[in-house]
Symmetry: C2
Subunit: 466 residues, 2 copies
């Protein structure tokens, strides 16, 4: 699936790269990847996509077809010859994939030759923005679902092949399994599934459809019970087939509700199943679920064991995008920033480090401090925009979040499985106090600047004043 | 980019396929692709993605790795041997790619062996739902923009590699060019681009940055003028460079505004440029544009020549998905439908044809009639749900919309260029009266059923009553 050549970029990256190539080919730069607000009006974000980016960068080349194509675009021969031999050889420091991240902080810093690192902007934003959005959405759904099983079934509503990455990110955010066979295969995520209405329609006879399915799919068999009438037809037929399966030494795994009032139907179905001695048969529910519907179902104590989530998960509704950006913070060793009339949109200069403050209980304190990479311990941090606010950090332990993950174009971290990344996310979320996880007006996690970084920024802003 | 194997599907397709394989391997079926409501609360939808689907289906195979993987999932050896030789050999009738389509009508009908056509459901929905969503969004933006130039620049915010298909669909819906090099290359869409803030930041000196850029990018040069101060720095510096370019016999193509009040800044910038004798320099505007913002800018007569649209285009915000479905309408020659307590969700049985009514001026009348494929001319159509409404069609010409596009797994239509498909969309939109195109409460295009289809459906509903 992953067949991305270096022409998977915006044309202007190449246009700018050619100017650099002609005027200052040996320049170096630092770019930061970060975003300005948490998606879904939430209190945190889950960073995902790093491992894909490292793999893509290790193998990023322009194909011969790419070079032929670019000849039509007024690029000069010497630059095209450069592109033919293009290889990303930069360094990357990054927060770990699956970690919790917050607005303003650099999540990933790219350092290297300006031409090499300009060209990768688009693919980096394309992969990281999307997976970070979906991993965050998934973790919110996980938060609502508690310990119940979550199944991703969104491929049919995903943005074409983006669905492949949606499944990966959903697993990082806390989903247990997916319907997406290709992604399950490549990322080693458990695959699961039930049955479609069309299967039962093809028989015309629901009981016979269930019977055949139960015989041939004797393990992990889930019967869809709402094709005709859930309580008067689907559940009674499922009970009949479950009993027949018992006689063969098999067990019906579950029934699936896909329409109607899920709380009401789940309760009634549970009762019918239990009265038939089938308390082991699980109830799967689907139909436009998201974190809010699942929260409501749980508040009603709906006896649902497994939630199947599709559209709202894989499209990251309602946001549908994360506005992560890639901004220049150093050029040939000099600090750089993007000014703006809006202070919130001013970027941070210099090569940086991010420190997460840890409280006495080893939990996250609720404060990340951004300093210049070369700084020692940050004793006090300052609100990036509100000049009244600062915070004393002397009493707290901290953890440096940005770590080398690529040196000279080679990944320096071992390949982690999705299970490992998802476990890390789960562990990190345990360290984040609940007030940052709630959906309604979550507490705002503090992100501040060291005095030195703030003063560098403010000096540069003043120098650019008009 | 397009490297989709047959395991790009939901696991349940394979589970169901195995049951068909074991119990009724030679059965045939008909499935319809359709949706239940226009996206964006609009009055119409643009169908896109057909050509990709035909190409994918012609080449759809399970790889050896897929088969190895599926062995872990309790599939039996004889079925895995079938999958190893799987080839789609069905027939497809479809509305033409780029045509205007409406809720309820089958857009595409697949006919063939039940196992073959079950497995393709996921990839078909995945590709068609997304491109249809984006082509529709693009056509709405085109409607707002009138004759101005539209540039897609959304790749960085697209859903990972789904962005490749977003660019294709945007071109069908009316976009002139894209920043996405890979998609431009593969789909022969014009590529274009401007410059980034980081380029100017790297210089620190805006004038020098513009100078170098204007020298090396002497054609199609667009300068980004809002890095420091649009009217006091960006435009004056762009004017200086434009004059220098004139001396070399070149012409600055444009300036780009990416922040602030675009209407105000465009007017002021236009005045400054015109006063400098640069009336040929175009103004490009970007920054979270969509059809509504562009409509407002045009209502204010903002002198903007080119709109760059990103996030809202490629993510299909605010909908982010089209709920197209794939429903069984015939099995072994017998009509089938999906019943539901909600009549709107009941599917239509039988192999069908869709007729578009044409008025005396050769425009679309605003009525599509769905009949059974074998029916003669439809004289009267009936509202699908409202039993009071019908419409006499005797006086109107009609056009049959579903045409064979694939026979025995081979495409029977020549490969069209994106330019050709986009031109077709443009022509078809000209035939659609304006009241269906407006954004606020658009007129509802009528879609009705023939008497025979309606009676078939109602008979089947009655047979399934509980």
């Amino acid at each position: 699936m992953l067949n991305i050549s270096a022409s998977y970029t915006d044309l202007y990256q190449l246009t700018m790269a050619q100017v650099y190539f002609k005027t200052k080919p040996d320049s170096t730069a630092v770019f930061d990847y970060y975003f300005r607000s948490n998606p879904f009006k939430g209190g945190y974000t889950i960073f995902a996509g790093l491992q894909n980016i490292l793999e893509i960068l290790e193998n990023l080349r322009f194909t011969d077809a790419d070079i032929e194509y670019l000849k039509k675009h007024d690029f000069e021969d010497d630059f095209l010859a450069y592109l033919k031999n293009y290889k990303f050889q930069g360094n990357i420091n990054s927060i770990s994939e699956g970690d919790i991240v917050f607005p303003t902080s650099p999540i990933l810093q790219v350092e290297g030759n300006i031409i090499e690192i300009q060209i990768i902007e688009t693919v980096l934003l394309n992969i990281l923005n999307f997976q970070t959005l979906i991993a965050t959405k998934a973790s919110r759904i996980r938060y609502s679902a508690g310990d119940r099983v979550l199944l991703d079934m969104g491929l049919r509503r995903a943005h074409a092949t983006g669905g492949y990455f949606a499944t990966r990110a959903a697993a990082i955010g806390g989903f247990n399994s997916t319907s997406n066979v290709k992604a399950a295969e490549d990322f080693n995520i458990p695959a699961s599934g039930t049955m479609a209405h069309s299967f039962i329609q093809s028989y015309g006879d629901e009981l016979q459809a269930f019977r055949d399915f139960g015989k041939i799919r004797s393990k992990n068999c889930v019967l869809l019970v709402d094709t005709y009438n859930t309580l008067r037809s689907g559940i009674p037929n499922a009970i009949t087939v479950a009993k027949e399966m018992e006689e063969r030494g098999d067990r019906l795994m579950g029934v699936r509700l896909d329409s109607g009032d899920l709380a009401y139907l789940a309760r009634k179905a549970r009762k019918q199943l239990d009265e038939a001695g089938l308390d082991y048969v699980k109830i799967v529910a689907s139909n436009q679920l998201d974190e809010y519907v699942i929260k409501s179902l749980n508040e009603q104590d709906a006896p649902i064991d497994i939630f199947g989530v599709g559209t709202n998960l894989v499209t990251g509704k309602p946001d549908a995008s994360l506005g992560g950006v890639y901004k220049l913070s150093e050029f040939n060793g000099d600090p750089r920033l993007k000014v703006s009339e809006n202070i919130i949109k001013v970027s941070l200069p210099c090569k940086k480090q991010v420190y997460r403050m840890i409280d006495d209980n080893e939990m996250f304190l609720g404060a990340d401090a951004i300093g210049i990479a070369s700084e020692d311990k940050i004793k006090r941090m300052y609100h990036p925009f509100d000049f009244n606010k600062d915070m004393d950090l002397q009493d707290f332990k901290h953890e440096a979040l940005l770590k080398p993950v690529m040196v000279n174009g080679k990944s320096t971290i071992g390949k982690k499985t999705i299970t490992e990344i998802a476990s890390f996310t789960k562990e990190r979320l345990k360290l984040l106090p609940g007030e940052y996880k709630r959906f309604e007006n979550p507490h705002i996690y503090k992100v501040g600047l060291s005095e030195e970084l703030k003063s560098q920024r403010d000096k540069l802003i003043a120098a650019h004043k008009f």
